[in-house]
Symmetry: C2
Subunit: 202 residues, 2 copies
DNA sequence: GTCTATAAATCGATAGAC
DNA sequence: GTCTATCGATTTATAGAC
């Protein structure tokens, strides 16, 4: 997907300082919102002028695109992993849930940005389309798990898939790096999904 | 709902009072994002000029404040209901979850806007503070339910409370008015919370 | 209550020197 | 690669006629 691995071109992280600049920009986008963040804000945060920033990126939208590509790439790499392709539907679902939380923790700013996209520009609409494609695969797996009789049909499969995605994605709203218990978070979330968030003590 | 179908008044597109204008503005804020929506966009959607819009609201932020107040009022009214104050912690939690989904369906645009607030202006920071106060009450109830031995401690109570709020709030991301099954949605979501989203078939 | 006209500031982006 | 300077468009908001 990333059009970098072409021809004889070296596959490298964006050259001399573009990498750090992207990281700074994404941080600003997260705290203030993409639309509310100006190129002036970005260059001030980076310690250079607006003009210098334009030397590394063609514009504001190019920054957004680079960030969204990084997050989406992580999601589709996860779907392609053996653990997401083999086993029962339920086993595959659990692997994906755990992987999503791991990705979210590892790439928090990029995933957060992806989940806040509204669809104002062409880049944003493209990202929304990619997200829908990912969600559709999750929904198909949920249906397969129900059809196979692996999980109880407490609610409609389509609704269960929506709630599953909502719960997993909501982690970006409160998780912060360095938080204690980060290592157990993926398994804890999977536990909540399959055993219930607030299961009755019976 | 639309205050247009009153008396013998003709149903006409353009303005009228501040009520319809607020509804139009919130709709625009939702689809494009608050920061990406200009007063020009709002007046065009309302069928009047920018100046006329300023006659009804002192500015863009006043519109946001009115909308957020409406959503927050619904949340705190819910917390004050008898069903949220009486009974076991688990019963109270279930009442609140069901009430939150009902509120969300009834006041979708206003609640959606509230959940997207970032904290750029004084009004937004005030709204975030109110949301935190609400979430704290939910977290306290979850702890109380665990302490009373009513629910199994599969995950840490603080984490369970976060996931609970995340799952409930995520409904604004996909629910749309007129959707079939809207009447059962509150109970379905509560079921997913207490019985599990994808419970193993045993 | 609505309009035209415009102020004052900020926006994304570019030109060109060093 | 960084800078100063600036363009043209857009932004929030106001003045004042009708």
């Amino acid at each position: 997907m990333t059009a970098n691995a072409e021809a004889g071109k070296r596959v490298r992280r964006p050259t001399g300082g573009a990498g750090p600049l992207l990281e700074i920009a994404v941080g600003e986008f997260i705290t203030r919102g993409y639309d509310a963040t100006s190129m002036e804000d970005l260059s001030r945060a980076a310690g250079i002028t607006k003009s210098s920033f334009y030397h590394h990126f063609t514009g504001k939208e190019a920054l957004l695109r680079a960030a969204l590509e990084r997050a989406l790439n992580g999601l589709f790499v996860l779907l392609a992993e053996p653990g997401a392709q083999e086993g029962t539907p339920t086993q595959r679902l659990r692997h994906i849930v755990v992987g999503q939380i791991r990705l979210l923790v590892a790439e928090l700013p990029y995933v957060t940005l992806l989940l806040r996209v509204r669809g104002n520009t062409e880049t944003e609409r493209w990202a929304l389309e990619q997200r829908r494609a990912f969600d559709a695969q999750i929904a198909a797996l949920v249906r397969a798990a129900v059809d196979a009789g692996e999980i109880r049909a407490g609610v409609e499969p389509a609704l269960a898939a929506r709630l599953l995605s909502g719960l997993v994605n909501s982690v970006v709203e409160w998780y912060r790096p360095g938080r204690p218990g980060a290592a157990e978070l993926p398994e804890d979330v999977a536990h909540a999904v399959f055993q219930g968030i607030l299961p009755a003590a019976s």
